[in-house]
């Protein structure tokens, strides 16, 4: 009975979102205040019913209701309670409900934090998001209903949650990734509303920017968590594999990064308006494409959900409809979005444009590599190919290098027009210092320095020094350094943090790729092997009993210079309900390097195969990502958005009062 209530809640949410997709938009077109004012209550209703559906699905998991097919496929009585609740997003149907609920959450947030915007604009934004909700809920009800029953003969116990998902990161990675991903639909709706109303000015950019920054910052967290999880869970010591399902969020992230920079120029200078809108459409389209790739089963991937052609067709149709109609609207309306001001050929605008070019080219190249196998198969009549990491690295690494060079100059260049003399005066010392130290430091610290290390350290120091130089110039005429630092705006600190994060992530990714070493060995208990400066002694294994698994746990004693340094306990687990084996790594994580051990399988004579890795600087990748995300969040909290809101609210209430007065005449 309870699951039917969930189904009922879903259908009610569908009905309300259909109303939301029509009435407020029509109201905005016909200037009908009553219809427009329905947007907020309808949004709240959609969110409430989606929440009820989600809670009921979680309740079915907690109460072991295996008559629900989705619960039977993804849970088991022995599953710990925290995985039972989070198993809601452990498979296609439930995760899509969760995804849709996230959309509802963003809609509610827009409804609440939009008091300062004109009613007409809010009605359009919520109406467009309502239309998206219609598509998502229809998809669920038609092809992937999480409340479908396994009747008349429900299984006595469930098939258990996929063993590889039973990990702490599973509790936090999908929510943050989905939240970031779905957040881009807010920006998309803002862009569509701007096209519909033909109004795209600095005020629009100011309303849009916090949402774009928030979605992008959260997506950064989601991506970083995914990378960290893959690193410690999959057991091959990698942190990014250019897997077809990893790539779409990366594409969205890159387009999102381009968009928040372009949006900055739109707000400050009134330029790149139609380009910003196009980026918003592309970023959102790439998020839908990610959904399509993950859920249609067309590509081979670590992440792909089981395939079902009808789902693929539905999503592709939805994708075509959304992208098609938004591009048509763009084509009709974009010409009216004129730039208000021009800019010189050497200005911050030009550097931002170059930034956008690089990010868009990088994301297009990743898209090409991701879709190429699919296209090749279709064109060649079934021949299968795969595109490996060498392709993606060959494209991505040089582009990020150019981006790093620009990242030093961009913030120093002035809006509108900047002189070469100004840049030279600001940056000559920076260039000398970063090239000098960039060569000397690595050579001093290590023997045998590859060119790639020197390039990495020069680029990293270049950005950091340019950043310091910019701060120095900005606070030069303040009485004290502290007063100067206080005078810098929160969004400036946001940018600085995010750029610093980029430096850390870039340096970590490059250095760990250059200096990681690994060794796969077969060891008898008592035997040891050496790697780098460390000796790894395998002491043997012992059985361990977990809540829903049994494991062999190895003891590996690591010593350095004859002194015991650390003991690691990697496990080979067998999840009893599903009979699935997984590896649990033993990791000693430090800021400067990770020691990483993974257990293979036993031989009859008692020996175990295992792989040992030393991964210098690998943690910098994720520490840098945290900085990037924090930078985005900082930018959202800049008080200029709030101050503006108060003034705006006053202005809007005045103008609507005027309108009402005019209307009554």
């Amino acid at each position: 009975m309870v699951p039917e209530l969930g189904n009922f809640a879903l259908i009610l949410a569908l009905c309300l979102s259909v109303l939301l997709a029509f009435l407020p938009l029509l109201g905005a077109a016909r200037n009908n205040q009553v219809w427009m004012s329905l947007a907020r209550p309808l949004t709240a209703g959609v969110f409430v019913f989606l929440s009820i559906a989600l809670v009921i699905l979680a309740y079915s998991f907690v109460t072991n209701d295996f008559s629900v097919q989705f619960v039977a496929n993804h849970s088991n009585t022995t599953l710990p309670i925290y995985y039972k609740i989070t198993a809601v997003w452990g498979g296609h149907e439930g995760s899509f409900l969760f995804w849709t609920w996230m959309l509802g959450g963003w809609m509610l947030a827009v409804a609440i934090f939009s008091k300062s915007m004109p009613d007409e604009f809010v009605a359009r934004v919520l109406g467009i998001m309502g239309a998206l909700a219609v598509g998502y809920i229809l998809f669920m009800v038609a092809t992937s209903n999480p409340f479908d029953r396994a009747l008349p003969l429900p299984p006595t116990n469930g098939a258990d949650l996929n063993a590889a998902l039973q990990d702490f990161a599973f509790i936090i990675h999908p929510p943050s990734l989905y939240m970031g991903y779905v957040g881009f639909s807010v920006v998309f709706a803002f862009a569509m509303a701007a096209l519909l109303s033909g109004r795209l000015d600095a005020a629009w950019a100011r309303w849009c920017r916090p949402w774009a920054n928030a979605a992008w910052a959260i997506l950064t967290v989601g991506l970083a968590l995914g990378s960290w999880w893959a690193y410690y869970e999959l057991g091959w010591g990698g942190w990014w594999a250019w897997d077809p399902v990893e790539n779409p969020p990366m594409i969205t992230w890159l387009l999102g990064a381009a968009m928040i920079h372009s949006l900055a120029a739109t707000e400050k200078r009134g330029v790149f308006k139609s380009w910003t809108v196009l980026l918003a459409i592309m970023a959102f389209a790439s998020s839908l494409l990610g959904t399509f790739i993950t859920r249609s089963g067309l590509l081979t991937s670590e992440h792909a959900f089981a395939s079902d052609p009808t789902r693929g067709v539905f999503i592709l149709g939805f994708l075509g409809l959304i992208i098609g109609s938004s591009l048509v609207l763009y084509a009709i309306r974009a010409p009216i979005l004129k730039s208000e001001f021009g800019f010189g050929s050497l200005s911050r605008e030009v550097f931002l444009l170059a930034n956008n070019m690089i990010l868009v080219v990088a994301s297009s190249a990743i898209l090409l590599g991701t879709l190429y196998p699919m296209v090749y198969q279709a064109v060649s009549g079934g021949d299968l190919i795969s595109v490996g990491p060498p392709y993606f690295n060959a494209i991505f690494v040089p582009l990020m290098g150019i981006l790093a060079v620009l990242m030093g100059i961009g913030p120093i260049a002035r809006w509108k027009r900047t002189s070469l003399a100004h840049l030279r005066q600001q940056l000559t010392k920076v260039v000398l210092a970063s090239v000098g130290l960039g060569v000397v430091l690595p050579v001093l610290l290590t023997m045998g320095v590859p060119l790639a290390t020197i390039a990495t350290s020069i680029l990293a120091l270049w950005i950091v020094f340019a950043m310091l130089r910019d701060i120095q110039t900005k606070i030069a005429n303040k009485p004290t350094v502290l007063a100067g630092l206080r005078s810098l705006s929160v969004s400036y600190w946001g940018m600085t943090l995010a750029h610093l994060g980029f430096v850390l992530t870039m340096a970590g990714a490059c250095l760990t790729s250059i200096y990681s070493v690994e060794r796969s060995v077969l060891l008898q208990p008592g035997q040891s092997t050496e790697l780098g400066a460390y000796t790894f002694r395998f002491e043997g294994t012992r059985p361990v009993q977990g809540p829903n698994f049994v494991a062999d746990e190895a003891t590996i004693v690591i010593s350095r210079d004859g002194k015991t340094y650390k003991t690691l306990y990697p496990q080979k687990r067998l999840y009893t309900a599903s009979g699935t084996p997984t590896s649990h790594m033993g990791i000693d994580g430090r800021v400067l390097r990770d020691l990483f051990t993974t257990l293979g399988d036993p031989r009859e004579n008692g020996a175990w195969s295992m792989t040992i890795y030393i991964k210098p600087f690998v943690r910098w990748i994720w520490i840098g990502s945290i900085f990037i995300a924090l930078g985005g969040i900082f930018a959202v909290t800049d008080k200029r958005y709030r101050q503006f809101k108060v003034k705006r609210a006053a202005a809007v209430s005045r103008s609507s009062a005027t309108l009402a007065a005019e209307g009554s005449q």
């Binding site: 959900f305 070019m357 080219v361 190249a365 590599g369 196998p373 190919i385 392709y391 796969s520 293979g600």
Partner: protein
């Protein structure tokens, strides 16, 4: 031509040239970095040149897995139930590697007709079969055994 028009044209030309270069370089990188996929039947028919980096997909034949007791090396037979290919791999097999399950191996065919793998992939979800393995079985006219219909 008015100056601002000329500037606009300059920007557009610059963007177009940049995009063309980027697409050219991408396609070049792509052509050098694709791995073709072969089935055991195609390998048996001699369609692969030794030394070419390829992917092979198939099921791990029951009872074919041999672990070396002294070294890391493992060998097994990948089959599409029409033809077999013996795969050698010096590394740690993925967790979901099991006899009777689908795998994809990356590596090169050796002159003696065996396959030396640099990487072996198995799927996370045992109900899910890789597109490549499924294609291999379909091509050999075999249905996939033990594939529950309509899972998920």
């Amino acid at each position: 031509m008015k100056p601002h028009r000329r500037k606009k044209l300059g920007i557009i030309l610059f963007i177009a040239a940049g995009l063309a270069t980027a697409i050219g370089l991408s396609l070049y990188a792509l052509s050098n970095n694709i791995d073709l996929f072969f089935t055991p039947t195609q390998i048996a028919a001699g369609e692969v040149t030794p030394g070419q980096r390829i992917r092979v997909g198939g099921m791990v034949k029951e009872g074919s897995v041999e672990h070396s007791q002294q070294e890391l090396e493992v060998s097994f037979i990948a089959t599409d139930y029409a033809h077999d290919v013996r795969v050698y791999y010096a590394g740690i097999l993925p967790d979901l590697f099991r006899e009777g399950q689908g795998i994809v191996a990356e590596g090169m065919i050796q002159p003696d007709g065996t396959f030396k793998a640099s990487r072996v992939l198995a799927k996370h979800d045992e109900n899910y079969m890789s597109v490549e393995v499924k294609a291999a079985l379909d091509a050999a006219g075999q249905s996939a055994p033990g594939m529950p219909a309509g899972v998920n």
